[in-house]
């Protein structure tokens, strides 16, 4: 738990952080976001005392940070910066071992920890251990940057635009990996970003800052559904309803699909469906439960003709993975002009279906005022 209480920081006459109070619960990711110069980076640097405030207190688990020597405090707070800042004259393994060495761990313990961190980052230790930062790609370097920050297993992780300098494709991969790691480690993370999508994707809470003050501190869903004022609603944009959808994983909203396997008696099944009259479309699966495509129960040849009766030949275009968010689902629906979409898992097996009605329910809950 990080308590920030009435903290103020000035640079000369300008105020970077203006009497901010903020509580960050243990194990949560708090994203600090706002226009440049709003004081978000300054606030992070106040937490590990890279900067000293003019007023106010910062408590970590109830203990005032001023009671510790700054260097000792920082060895127990992970720190990741935008340009990584790996030490170019040290190997990757030596970079990771910096904090454990400062903490005078013994060699076996350091080696074991380094090994473990490589695995955590899904990097092959033997391949990377003796490389130098120069030889790494941007994404690899940032993974090592995160590993280095985690080396002493700190409870708190400060990340100052960590993925800002990485290309969009790699950034998404890094975000996904980071979420996976975070779901295991449950660190208390303060994450500075200027990318709203990133904040919405990663943050348990978002603190939106402006001119040294926090304008709104809430869950991403709340900020997007109920922006506190004009500044917030402008910042989150006119498409906030859409952005909000990316907080909702499709796996939580999909329904049980009506399916028929090619090994079943397709004719009999369709006839029964038609009589009941509830469902018009059913999903046809192959022997391994993989999706072949949708079938219209009213217009089927007799006998069943697999070539002509499956309505959509290009199946991948209308399916989504179960790891997708409702935002991707909606985009896919609009792009393909369909109202219902099948959801598949990593092995292409059908696991559910979702229709536009479910998405509407999610947006109605929020009851947007415009």
């Amino acid at each position: 738990m990080i308590h920030i209480r009435n903290v103020t920081k000035r640079y000369g006459t300008s105020i970077a952080v203006d009497d901010i109070s903020l509580e960050i619960p243990t194990g949560e990711i708090c994203c600090l976001i706002g226009p440049s110069g709003c004081g978000k980076s300054t606030l992070v640097k106040l937490i590990n005392r890279m900067l000293e405030p003019e007023g106010g207190r910062i408590l970590i688990d109830g203990k005032d940070t001023r009671d510790f020597q700054p260097e000792l405090l920082r060895r127990h707070i992970g720190y990741v910066i935008q340009n990584v800042g790996l030490f170019p004259h040290m190997t990757v393994a030596e970079n990771i071992a910096v904090v454990p060495q400062l903490l005078s761990w013994n060699r076996e313990k350091i080696e074991g920890r380094t090994e473990g961190l490589f695995r955590l980052m899904r990097m092959e230790p033997n391949q990377y251990r003796d490389k130098y930062p120069r030889e790494l790609s941007g994404g690899e370097a940032q993974r090592i940057g995160v590993a280095r920050a985690l080396a002493s297993d700190p409870a708190i992780l400060l990340m100052d635009e960590p993925f800002g300098a990485v290309d969009p494709l790699n950034r998404e991969a890094l975000q996904a990996e980071f979420m996976k790691i975070q779901s295991d480690l449950k660190k208390t993370v303060v994450f500075v970003t200027h990318d709203l999508d990133e904040a919405i994707r990663l943050g348990d809470r978002i603190a939106l800052m402006r001119a040294g003050r926090i304008v709104q501190y809430d869950t991403p869903e709340e900020i997007l559904a109920h922006p506190k004022d004009r500044f917030v609603s402008d910042f989150v944009g006119a498409d906030r309803a859409l952005k909000r959808l990316s907080r909702f994983p499709v796996s939580e909203f999909m329904k049980e699909p009506v399916v028929v396997k090619v090994t079943d008696d397709v004719d009999a099944f369709l006839a029964k469906i038609r009589e009941e009259g509830k469902t018009r479309f059913v999903w046809l699966l192959d022997e391994q439960d993989r999706l072949i495509g949708p079938v219209d129960s009213r217009h089927v040849h007799r006998p069943f003709n697999r070539e002509e009766d499956v309505m959509e030949a290009n199946c991948p275009a209308i399916t989504v993975r179960n790891s997708a968010t409702l935002r991707e689902v909606l985009s896919r629906m609009l792009g393909q002009g369909v109202k219902t979409i099948p959801v598949i898992d990593d092995d292409s097996r059908l696991v559910g279906e979702i229709s536009i009605g479910e998405i509407e329910k999610v947006t109605e809950e929020a009851a947007f005022e415009c």
Binding site: R75, I81, V84, G85, V98, L102, Y132, P133, R134, R148
Partner: protein, 395 residues
Amino acid sequence: MHRVGIDRVTLAGAVIGLCSFGLHFAVLRPNRLSSGDGLFVWNALPSSEAIILVLLWLCALGAGLLYRKNRPFRLAPGLIGNVVLVLVFLFTAGMATNTTDPDLPFLRISIGSGGWIMAFASYILILSSQQKLADRGFLRLFVSLSGLTAIVLLLATGHLSDISVIKEFSARQGRFLSELSQHLIIAGASVGIATIIGTGLGVWAFRSRILERPVFFFVNTVQTLPSLALFGLMIAPLALLSQRYPVLRDLGIQGIGWAPALIALSLYALLPITRNTYTSLRILDPDVIEAGRGMGMNGLQVLWRIEIPLSLPIILSGIRTALVQSIGNTTVAALIGAGGLGVFVFQGLGQAVPDLILLGAIPVIVLSVCTDKLMAILIHQITPKGIALQEEPAS
């Protein structure tokens, strides 16, 4: 695989080497002061020795024209170069020993322009092999040093003592050693002082935006002054000071002598050291420093673990430049009575004795080259591997 091609460096060396036959290989003087007569290779040496030299150079020419990428061809120019280098000295010495004339007891034999150019051309052959053997440490070292080692051994065993410049040396052995050590002390001390002040100035200029310009204006201006003028400038104020304060005179600080030389040379050495210190700090990535601090290093740990390993190689290469420059400039310092090897150069100029000039000049060249090499090795050793990686494509 082994295509025949032209090796330009070896070819250039061979052509220069063959051209040197058109100049006087040796100079014969009735005594050390007279101007003397030049002798071509075939007049100076017995025909067998002349033929050996011609054949060696023709081999070099062949190696240059018919180059193949295999080991014998990489090694050949260097071997020929080393052999020729030794032979130039050995043959001249042999000629000096064998040429006796009862009428001319003070007869002197020196290496002539052709002999020196031949030695220079043989060095081009050695360099050519060095380049091609970059990946073979031992062979490269052998090619670089075998000729020089042989010459040093020949010198030590007295086989070259009949060459005129060695006779000049023998006549002044004690003086030579004292001037050599004086030279080394002045050059070394000036760079030592400049290192202390220069690194300080560099750090200062980096930390303060206001001081950056004046500091560099000062060190750049000093560097543009001719060394002789700077020595001259030192004389008046120091003379005045030592007159005013006798303590200084007792310490040996006067208008002329080692004091003004040391001050002027230190000022000279400031620029490369100040500039490199400043640059090394300038190119330090601030993110690296921030990461270090953010991970909990204190000021001393940041300095010791990050700043020094990253900037030392660059500062040392500034010191390397300063050392080479100082060794050369100390020669001129002899003019204001500071001593050093320049003493022989200016004595030789005054008395019109070319061999005396060489007695001063050759050691200065050898000192500069050796210092440069030693510093290069030192810098290579202390440069962290992770940084060296980024420099490799350039070399």
